[in-house]
């Protein structure tokens, strides 16, 4: 997983004087008795790629549809560029949407699909033609202008859909699972292209996705949603390294969770006595709690070291038995069983090329992680 933040030097959300471009204020959406989105508040800044990340049915698409105007919030306010969007129909909003199904008009050529929005604005023909051809070269689809959508591959349709939603130069581009229909290889290539295009146009993107890898790659910031609520907002690194709670830790990447109680609350660290790990776990200070409070420690699988030999000077050490090994090529995933039955996931990069693994099923191994590797999660 990588971070592709275009604005590592510009973090408008950290600047208290910056005015947000899109403000979502206490938005709730109910369908009958069912609450799809509950009391969501978000500030999104100009030029951001903001990802709404969550499982299916978490309300992320409903939130996006409220931004585009297809759904009306039950309560709350949506303000785009200082303008309250209440009562503004989709066709009058400064947003454009790239649909999950692409929704390219099947009876129109690529060219006509892209020109559709410009025609609605009543632009002169020459300008429409120019903007269509410009945007086609931006998405590298010149030469496909006269094709019908059914004569295009999935990746080409995705580009046309992107072009159609970008050609009106919307203030805010909404993307609903933009890469969902592409295969893995194409998806990875397209992610970076999407970032490049976004940078060159300076449009603000709000992306809905269930794919955490996609969210990590694309976003400047991620809002993790579950059951209609935003549980954490942060940069991909913040979300991954400092998950606020167990759901976020578990949803983004995989994680080992050790239940325990606070045994010592020091100046710069906490000791969590974990019966599950059979260990007093050292964690750098990240919470303030009372002694005896129930907490859990989350440790990412790749931060756990594994060896048959001595692990040296690590803060937290355990021993266990290898239950299963999954060889993934670039890395291997080990399922470790501790003596008390607790299972652990450990990922190790395959640094050397060897036919035989030095670690085998049933081996007794030493495990350990550095003091800074773990994070305390509550709830």
């Amino acid at each position: 997983m990588s971070e592709a933040i275009s604005m590592s030097d510009a973090r408008p959300w950290a600047d208290p004087t910056a005015a947000p471009f899109l403000q979502i204020k206490n938005v709730t959406k109910k369908f009958g008795d069912f609450t799809s989105v509950y009391d969501v508040s978000l500030d999104i800044y100009k030029g951001e790629i903001f990802c709404l990340l969550g499982g299916s049915g978490c309300g992320k698409s409903t939130l996006l549809r409220m931004l585009s105007g297809f759904e009306t919030p039950t309560s709350g306010q949506i303000i785009i560029d200082g303008q309250d969007q209440a009562g503004i129909a989709p066709y009058d909003r400064p947003t454009n949407m790239m649909f999950q199904s692409y929704a390219l008009f099947p009876h129109m050529t690529v060219e006509k699909n892209i020109a559709y929005g410009l025609k609605r604005d009543g632009l002169p023909k020459a300008e429409i033609a120019k903007r269509v051809s410009d945007i086609l070269s931006l998405v590298q689809m010149d030469g496909f202008a006269k094709r019908k959508p059914n004569q295009l591959s999935g990746g080409q349709r995705q580009r046309v859909a992107l072009a159609r939603s970008l050609v009106k130069k919307p203030k805010l581009l909404l993307l609903d699972e933009p890469l969902g229909a592409l295969d893995k290889k194409l998806r990875e290539e397209t992610q970076f292209e999407l970032i490049k295009i976004q940078e060159s146009l300076g449009v603000t993107f709000v992306v809905v996705t269930h794919d955490q890898e996609e969210a990590m790659t694309l976003s400047s910031r991620i809002g993790v949603m579950t059951a209609g609520e935003i549980v954490q907002v942060g940069t991909p690194r913040e979300i991954y390294e400092y998950p606020r709670n167990r759901f976020v830790a578990d949803f983004i990447g995989s994680v080992n969770i050790f239940e325990g109680r606070i045994a010592e609350d020091g100046e710069s660290h906490v000791i969590v006595a974990s019966h599950e790990a059979g260990l007093d776990i050292y964690v750098p200070h990240s919470i303030s709690g009372v002694i005896g409070q129930k907490v859990a420690v989350a440790v990412r699988p790749e931060k756990v070291q594994i060896s048959k030999g001595d692990l040296g000077n690590l803060r937290n050490k355990l021993t266990g038995t290898i239950d299963e090994i999954a060889y993934m090529g670039d890395a291997s995933v080990y399922q470790i069983r501790l003596d008390n039955g607790k299972r652990l996931r450990v990922t190790q990069t395959n640094l050397t090329r060897s036919e035989e693994s030095t670690l085998n099923y049933g081996d007794r191994v030493n495990l350990g992680w550095d003091g800074s590797a773990g994070v305390v999660v509550t709830s």
């Binding site: 585009s68 454009n96 929704a103 009876h107 559709y116 609605r120 059914n150």
Partner: protein
């Protein structure tokens, strides 16, 4: 005795005869069409080339056995006669006009109805569709007679209009082309609605949302997206209304007036009043071609538009 169920024994028997399920599925309708469409058509075609006679049946045979030879005598005079007598050309044109206008009216009424049904709540759709089909549960003839009661001089509509003081004299509606239009549109409307509904219910709402998102108001979306995408449904509905309407006999006979000229009535008169079977057969054959050519063009246009939309 075999313990196999009857069905599988029959299946095994047919299998031994080389008739597998797939062949049977195609064969049964093929044989049906052959017996009940193609053979009668050929009989009518044969009669259309013969000469009328006072005999039983009332025409001369085409093939005769004369002096050890088959003598085939084809009479094209019936077809030439159709061209000579302006009655027939006028009747064909009249039929096409009445059927065409009726189809257009049925489309204008049926499209919004089909659209509303397709856009209504899924569990209400079946109820609404049933209401569309409900008239079929009553005899067609009875329903056309019922219209006489509505349209006649002292019928329901005139009484109502006079009663509330809109008119003083009853309107003449029965035995006019107007009544024929009412009857045809009323009778064939379900045939317009059903294919349109089947098409519109499949229309992906994402297209409509995409159109709105790109700045199109609902009315623009309708003409640029909904209408073009439902073209195949429109064509199917129009064909289902136009074709039977051209040959319609009962409705113009009951509701139409002396000026209403449709080919169905001409056909009826030739067969039963004049007992000129060859002319009547020629009328039927020409009508078939008058219909088949536009149908084939429409089919072609329809498959072309469906191919595009896939």
């Amino acid at each position: 005795m075999s313990s196999l169920p009857l069905g599988s024994r029959i299946g095994a028997l047919l299998g031994r005869m080389g008739l597998k399920g797939r062949v049977l599925v195609i064969a049964i309708p093929t044989v049906w069409l052959l017996i009940f469409f193609l053979i009668p058509f050929l009989v009518v075609a044969k009669i259309s080339f013969s000469v009328a006679a006072i005999a039983r049946p009332p025409y001369l045979p085409i093939v005769e056995w004369v002096d050890g030879f088959f003598r085939i005598s084809l009479n094209f005079g019936n077809y030439l006669f159709l061209l000579e007598d302006p009655l027939y050309v006028a009747a064909y044109l009249g039929s096409v006009k009445i059927a065409g206008v009726s189809t257009l009216i049925a489309l204008l009424i049926g499209y919004p109805m089909a659209y509303l049904i397709a856009r209504s709540e899924p569990d209400r759709r079946n109820l609404l569709l049933m209401l569309v089909v409900l008239p079929f549960w009553t005899s067609f003839l009875l329903r056309v007679y019922a219209w006489i009661g509505f349209l006649k001089g002292n019928g329901v509509i005139n009484n109502l209009l006079i009663g509330i003081g809109i008119i003083d004299e009853p309107l003449v509606m029965l035995q006019t082309d107007f009544a024929v239009y009412v009857g045809i549109v009323y009778t064939y409307l379900p045939f317009m609605i059903l294919p349109l509904y089947a098409n519109l219910v499949k229309l992906d709402e994402a297209y409509l949302e995409a159109s709105a998102d790109l700045g199109a108001r609902p009315i623009t979306t309708f003409f640029t997206v909904t209408l073009p995408l439902s073209l195949s449904g429109i064509i199917a509905g129009c064909m289902l209304v136009f074709i039977p309407a051209v040959g319609e006999f009962v409705i113009p006979a009951l509701l139409g007036g002396p000026d209403t000229l449709m080919i169905g009535q001409v056909l009826w008169n030739e067969f039963f009043s004049n007992r000129d079977w060859p002319i009547a057969s020629a009328v039927a054959i020409v009508m078939l071609f008058v219909l088949v050519i536009p149908i084939m063009l429409l089919r072609w246009a329809q498959s072309a538009s469906e191919g595009e939309n896939q």
